[in-house]
Amino acid sequence: MSKFLKVSAAVLMMASPAVAGDSLGLGRPALPEEIAAWDIDVLPDGRGLPEGRGDAFTGEEVFAEKCASCHGDFAEGVDNWPVLAGGFDTLADKDPVKTVGSYWPYLSTVWDYVNRSMPFGAAQTLTEDEVYAIVAYILYSNDLVDDDFELSHENFAEFEMHNQGGFIQDDRAALEYPMWRVEPCMTDCKESVEITMRASILDVTPDEGAAEGEEQTAAVVEEVVEEEAPVEAVTALDPELVKKGEKVFKKCKACHQVGAKAKNKTGPVLNGIMGRGFASIDGFKYSKVFKAAADEGRMWDEAEMAAFLTKPKAYLKGTKMSFAGLKKEADVAAIIEYLKSVDD
């Protein structure tokens, strides 16, 4: 047990005058509705869980729609995004695969994390039943339950995770400190010293110097200036609105990149998207509805984009984009203006 948990009576005594001291009368009482809105943490014993339920079968659909673009259809992880399934009995291997199934000690942590932080870029948009269903599906993808398994507030506490017993409390104070709290050697500490490994052999050090980066930025700025001039003459972008749109675009940045170095991520690159055909960015895996729209020859004009950004799922049923939509018309207008400014 850490020394911090063997709480010394002395420290708490010392602290107690302050703890018991007069209050300054600052702040105001938190209202029950406010506490309910923010106090959403769930403890290992299930305290804090709202009522609800969802089965793995339903979870598979929700997962495919809202999670799979990063975590893969089978929770296997895309690119560098976290793998959620498998890896059992690898924790003592050279490269342990730490997944929800193989490593996470408590199911409450999965529920709490999905509920508060996921999907990435659209946190706190899942319903409680969706969270139950997703968690049930993650268990299913780890072969821990069958696909008809339903998780609910009623059976939650019964579920014990595979690696629950795999953790010990910090034992450095007992194991390491006595070994290393000794007077160190100053002379003749070793007979010989050889270099056993060199970083230059592996060489994974990032190569970009600041100076080089700056040069590129400068070049990009020049390019933009050169190209923007004629464009402005035709469409006369409103610079204020572009600026506003750039701010709104932060909501999109978790999935979409723009600019000279932009790459397809969870969503496609958006350089020059306005005026382009649907599903026309090279190398991006579009959903079926997007491909169908492309086949119909649909183009991204202002009306299409505004409708899409206002209610993505209603506008193109089946889109993989897990974005709830922009509520304010002004935001939609601003972002469209901004997208017009990020030409190829």
Binding site: A30, D41, F167, D203
Partner: protein, 425 residues
């Protein structure tokens, strides 16, 4: 020379260092031909410079444009949930300027106005409360200097020497002077009577960003030295460090220093959030994992010379400079070895009295005649703890624990003055 450096990549710069050793040391020093920088009237000695207000908020001069945070793109899936590194190779003293202090976000750096800021205290308290930013400024204020180190600092080096630059091996650290109020005062305001016996109680703290990163802190620490801070190095926190309010948990891993702090809950158990179970737990060789490894053990590293800071001035007097710190208190001594740990000499601490749980600067004023050196630093703290070697750590923990790698670092310095990240027997 400066122009040449600005036009090359860092790696080319490192290679260039070799040529520099032979050539430039002379420039200013060689007697014989008069130095035109002295004998000729320079532009800056004749024409005027910029007036006041040219830059209402100043940035470093362009010649220092290399002193910036950098990231390691292959480390993470996305820069929005990622980390970058403080350019500690190029800094001196102990305070880290906010503008180049490393960033670690889980859902990006958000923009939260003071007017929109709310802090809630709830759970096992007598009266759950909501504070505005102005409310916080009315509590008694304190100023303290503390280091903040990510538990994963040096984490890429467990299995071997990997990254050739102290910025990348040790740059997940910064050291600032924080202005704020004690967490104890806030808990007192809400009243801890409802919590009963405090010995087994916790506070759960969480942020206002989309990750709402949350951690559980034992009550003893919460009542000890934890700060709710709103200024760093005299000015408002930067958005990347949690503007307008962050938690400061002295000596403990950076992940617990919740940014954009929005809620403090008194609980009777650890919440076991994602960041204290699936992350920030340390897998040992047998596959079991240590949890609740909060304290950052004593550590030090030579920042110059180092791979990004080759010796360019030629033979003769050389200042070896570095940083030391401990989450257990003050640094009492730093030893430096030039022969890979065979023999050691004690360095000079660069501050008369180092702050507790803050960075300490050390110097070894020495002479270099082009020898091959295997440079190491070894810190000791006020508990008598001596920074271990990488092999000592691996013997206890294996190579998979990712976090809490406080091993002794070795730089191989060659005859050209270039340094490389190596491991030694």
């Amino acid at each position: 020379m400066a122009d040449e450096l600005n036009n090359t990549s860092r790696r080319a710069f490192l290679k260039g260092g070799a040529a520099a050793v032979v050539g430039t040391a002379a420039g200013a020093a060689s007697a014989g031909t008069p130095d035109p920088l002295i004998t000729e009237v320079q532009d800056w000695a004749s024409f005027t410079g910029e007036g006041v207000d040219e830059t209402p908020y100043g940035l470093p001069i362009e010649f220092e444009s290399d002193v910036v945070r950098r990231n390691v793109p292959w480390l993470t899936a996305d820069p929005i949930s990622s980390i970058n590194f403080t350019p500690i190779h190029a800094l001196d003293g102990t305070i880290t300027p906010q503008g180049c202090a490393f960033e670690r976000h889980h859902s990006g750096a958000i923009e939260l106005k003071k007017d929109d800021y709310r802090l809630m205290i709830n759970g096992l308290v007598d009266q759950p409360l909501v504070f505005t930013y102005e409310d916080l400024e009315r509590f008694p204020r304190e100023n303290h200097v503390y280091f903040c180190e990510c538990a994963a600092n040096t984490g890429m080096e467990w299995a071997g020497a990997q990254l050739n630059g102290v910025q990348f091996t040790h740059g997940m650290i910064h050291n600032m002077e924080y202005s704020g109020i004690s967490l104890r005062a806030l808990l007192n305001e809400a009243g801890l009577g409802a919590a009963g016996d405090l010995a087994d109680k916790w506070v759960y703290v969480e942020g206002a960003d989309a990750s709402s990163n949350g951690r559980s802190i034992p009550m003893e620490k919460a009542l000890d030295d934890v700060l709710v801070a709103f200024k760093a190095n005299g000015e408002a926190l930067r958005k990347e460090h949690g503007y307008p309010v962050r938690l400061v948990v002295p000596g403990w891993e950076g992940n617990m220093w919740i940014k954009w702090l929005r809620r403090i809950e008194v609980t009777d158990a650890a919440v076991e959030s994602r960041e204290e179970t699936s992350k920030y737990t340390d897998v040992m060789e047998d596959g079991t994992a240590r949890k609740w490894t909060w304290e950052m053990d004593a550590k030090s590293v030579i920042t110059s010379p180092s791979p990004q800071m080759p010796i360019k001035h030629g033979h003769g007097p050389l200042v070896i400079s570095g940083l030391a710190w401990s989450g257990h208190g003050r640094i009492t001594r730093v030893d430096v070895s030039k022969d890979g740990g065979k023999s050691w000499e004690t360095a000079r601490l660069g501050t008369t009295q180092g702050d507790s749980k803050a960075l300490t600067r050390f110097y070894l004023d020495t002479d270099w005649q082009g020898e091959d050196w295997l440079l190491q630093a070894r810190a000791m703290d006020e508990t008598g703890y001596v920074q271990p070697t990488k092999d000592q750590l691996r013997e206890v923990r294996g190579e998979n624990s990712i976090y809490h790698n406080n091993c002794i670092q070795t730089w191989y310095l060659n005859a050209k003055g270039e340094a490389e990240n190596v491991e030694v027997s």
